[in-house]
Structures are given as structure tokens and as C-alpha cells.
Symmetry: C2
Subunit: 233 residues, 2 copies
């Protein structure tokens, strides 16, 4: 944004990488795809595409999810995470990558193919977890920490569940993302006393397989920031 007399030369390529998180079976999971490059066989990467000349960054993020994982979730939460511009982050040359964080209740089409898969976040970085390509082992922790952090001071947890939801379901989101157990009674008191977090809906939800009292249904409230915040234990 300056040097207007500079010639219009190509300085470096721009790409978008998307870290899509979801909660399945009470576990936080991350979407990864297999790179096409033969040299990267056996590794996994975040779905990402080059930015086209006539395309906004958000559009590239949506296109990455659609083309590489078949996910078209227009209601999914999508926000920019950070831009990674290390000189050597891509062996093919200088590529600046704008990373995105995406949250969704259930990826539209279950992407459990051999090209796109959901991985337990708890297993990332361990021997059983996938090996990440490029510098994605730096992007992924940033994305997870952003999600964990934003659960504290924003109503983002509601982006992981479908409406209507119960407070038990919402609590299981917090427990899966944070990896801790929360007291049900205190969680309820906190959520319902935070203005605009959730709104009561009609009817009751049937109990789960183990029985239990039916729970009230709720919908997302209008608040985007939580006051006061829901702090991690």
C-alpha cells in the first residue's frame, strides 16, 4: 500500500489455508486433506487454494473447502486466523498463505474419504497422529488455540451445534474443545445469566440412550461477545 511508482510486478504468490474444526463424538476434530504432490505422499495438509485475481480471500477459503473436501456449509463460521509468510515455508517457492479458521457443527458431506479426513486434535503431534506438510504444524496449533480462546469471550461455541440445542450439548462442546470437565450446574448458571448468549426455545429434547430428565431447548442469542467472559478453569 504505497510505492505507487513501483512497477506492477509479481512479488509472491498468495494462497489460503483453512483449518476446519468440528466436534464429533465429544472429540474436537480437524479436517485434513492429502496433498497432490508425490513428494508429500503420506503427509496431510490443510485444504488450501491459490487466490485468484478476481477472488476475495473469503471466497478462496470457501472454494478450498468445496473443491478439496466437498464441504459447502454456508452457515459455517469462518474467520481469518493469521498470515504466514516465512520464506521457506513452501518448498515450491515463495507463497504467502492467509490462514482461516472454520467452525461447523457437522461438515455437510461427511468427508471420510481417502483424500479428506477428520483427525482427532488430541492425537495431533503424537506418533499416532498424521504428519503435517509445509508449515501446517505451526498453523494448526494457532487455529486450535484461537478456537479455545474465543470460546472464553465470545458466543462462538454455538457455531459448533445445530439449533435447537440443549445446554448439555453446549457444555459438551466446551469440554471437547478445552479438554476439561465442567460442572453442569455452574455451567448452566453461567450461560443463562450471560445476557444474549442463548435464548430459550420451545419444547424439550428427548433424553439420550442412558435416560435422564428431558432438557430444555435453546437457540443462539444475539450477543457476539460474552460479558463477563467464560474463563477456562
Amino acid at each position: 500500500m504505497s510505492a505507487p511508482t513501483a512497477p506492477r510486478v509479481a512479488s509472491c504468490a498468495v494462497a489460503v489455508d483453512v483449518a476446519l474444526l468440528t466436534v464429533r463424538n465429544d472429540r474436537l476434530q480437524l479436517l485434513l486433506v492429502q496433498p497432490d504432490a508425490a513428494a508429500l505422499r503420506g503427509t496431510w495438509a490443510l485444504p488450501g487454494r491459490r487466490v485468484r485475481d478476481d477472488e476475495g480471500l473469503d471466497d478462496t477459503a470457501h472454494r478450498s473447502l468445496a473443491e478439496l473436501a466437498g464441504i459447502t456449509a454456508p452457515e459455517a463460521h469462518l474467520e481469518q486466523l493469521r498470515t504466514y509468510g516465512e520464506l521457506t515455508r513452501d518448498p515450491r517457492g515463495r507463497v504467502v498463505s492467509v490462514a482461516y479458521l472454520a467452525l461447523t457443527p457437522t461438515p455437510g458431506d461427511p468427508p471420510d474419504t481417502d483424500r479428506a479426513q477428520l483427525f482427532d486434535v488430541a492425537r495431533l503431534g503424537t506418533a499416532e497422529g498424521p504428519t503435517l506438510a509445509y508449515d501446517h504444524d505451526r498453523i494448526v496449533p494457532d487455529a486450535i488455540e484461537r478456537a479455545r480462546s474465543k470460546l472464553e469471550y465470545s458466543a462462538l461455541a454455538t457455531a459448533f451445534v445445530e439449533e435447537p440445542f440443549t445446554l448439555g450439548e453446549l457444555r459438551s462442546i466446551y469440554e471437547a474443545v478445552w479438554g476439561v470437565a465442567l460442572d453442569p450446574a455452574n455451567f448452566r448458571r453461567k450461560v443463562v445469566s450471560t445476557p444474549g448468549f442463548v435464548e430459550e426455545a420451545e419444547g424439550l429434547a428427548p433424553p439420550g440412550p442412558g435416560g435422564g430428565r428431558p432438557a430444555k431447548r435453546y437457540r443462539r442469542g444475539h450477543a457476539r461477545r460474552l460479558h463477563p467472559a467464560m474463563l477456562r478453569p
Copy 2:
């Protein structure tokens, strides 16, 4: 980060824009420069440069400050803010800009020239304030809000003052950035009880022109996050 078979073509230009904030005379101020373009006469812009092929993003941020405002402050806090990629944000063509937030106690060389100047943040957006070029009227509010927000949960306020400092100086930073008055006694209790925020230094600071009891000196602590947070009133 994908489509490895795609040719190495120029998709779009990449630039860095820096929003440098400082506190002078108890007022939060922002550094702006005059664009070279004749069509933008009378407007002001964030200092920014194109990213070179062999240059990291952080390096471009430092170079922008040095070349356009003569500021070489290696100890200044510098962090990435967000990347702006709107198709029409630059009339000269598609330019993706990685915005940075910089905080410094005193800009190395006082940049009060006709090309670079500090503006009161309170006046931005008003009739007396400068007219901003490009989409910088979108970047600047994001930068200010980031700074205000990070004062809450990080020890970033210490980046605005030089060591050693008094708690009165640190409090004036909070008051200038947030635009509110804080109770001196409660502020002190909060700061000294937050582990790692500040550490006591040697000696006392002389009182200001109006007199007053000498204040203890402090240095930055080792903590980067504040637990619990210092919330805005």
C-alpha cells in the same frame, strides 16, 4: 498451499501496512504518512511497502517504518493484525495487504515532518481528523480495537512506556488507550497482585511539576498473559 501443479504465475501483489500507536501527552496517537500518488494529495495513509521476494513479512513492516517515517525502533512491539484482500481496496489493482500493529514508547526520531506525522486517535473519523487513503479507514479501527483489547488480557501496556516506569505512568497508558479514568489505588492493587506483570526496581522517581509523593520504579515482568485479566470498566 495446494495445487502444486499450478504454474508459478503472479496472482496478486502483497504489501504490508503498519499501524504504529504511541502515547504522547496522555493521548493515544497514530502514525500516518502522505502517499506519493498525486491523486491522493491531502489524504494520509499507514506506512506500507510492497513485500520483496526475499523478505519476510516482519522485515517488510520494519522497512516500512524506517523508509517512510525514519523510525528504527528494534525494541518496539510488532504483531500481525489482519490481512485485507478486498478486490477494490487499492485503485491501482489487486493488492493484498498484511496489516501490522506496532506499539512503541517514543518513536525513535520524532516523525513530525510534513511527510510523517502523529495524529490523535480521538480525532480520527471526525471533521478535524485526517482523511485516510485506500481502505485504511477500515484497518485503523481494527488496530485501535486490538490494542484496547490486548491491554485487558496481556501485559502489552508496558510496551508503551520506557523502563523503569512508575505505576502512575502505566496507569496513564491505560487511561489514554481506553479513554477512561481509573482509580489509582485499585489500579495499583490489581497490577501488583497480578503475578509477572511488573517487577519492583530500584529507587524512586522524582515527582512531576505539580509535586506529589515520589513513586516507586518498576520494570516489565516476565508474564505475557494476565491472570486474571484487567477488564475495561
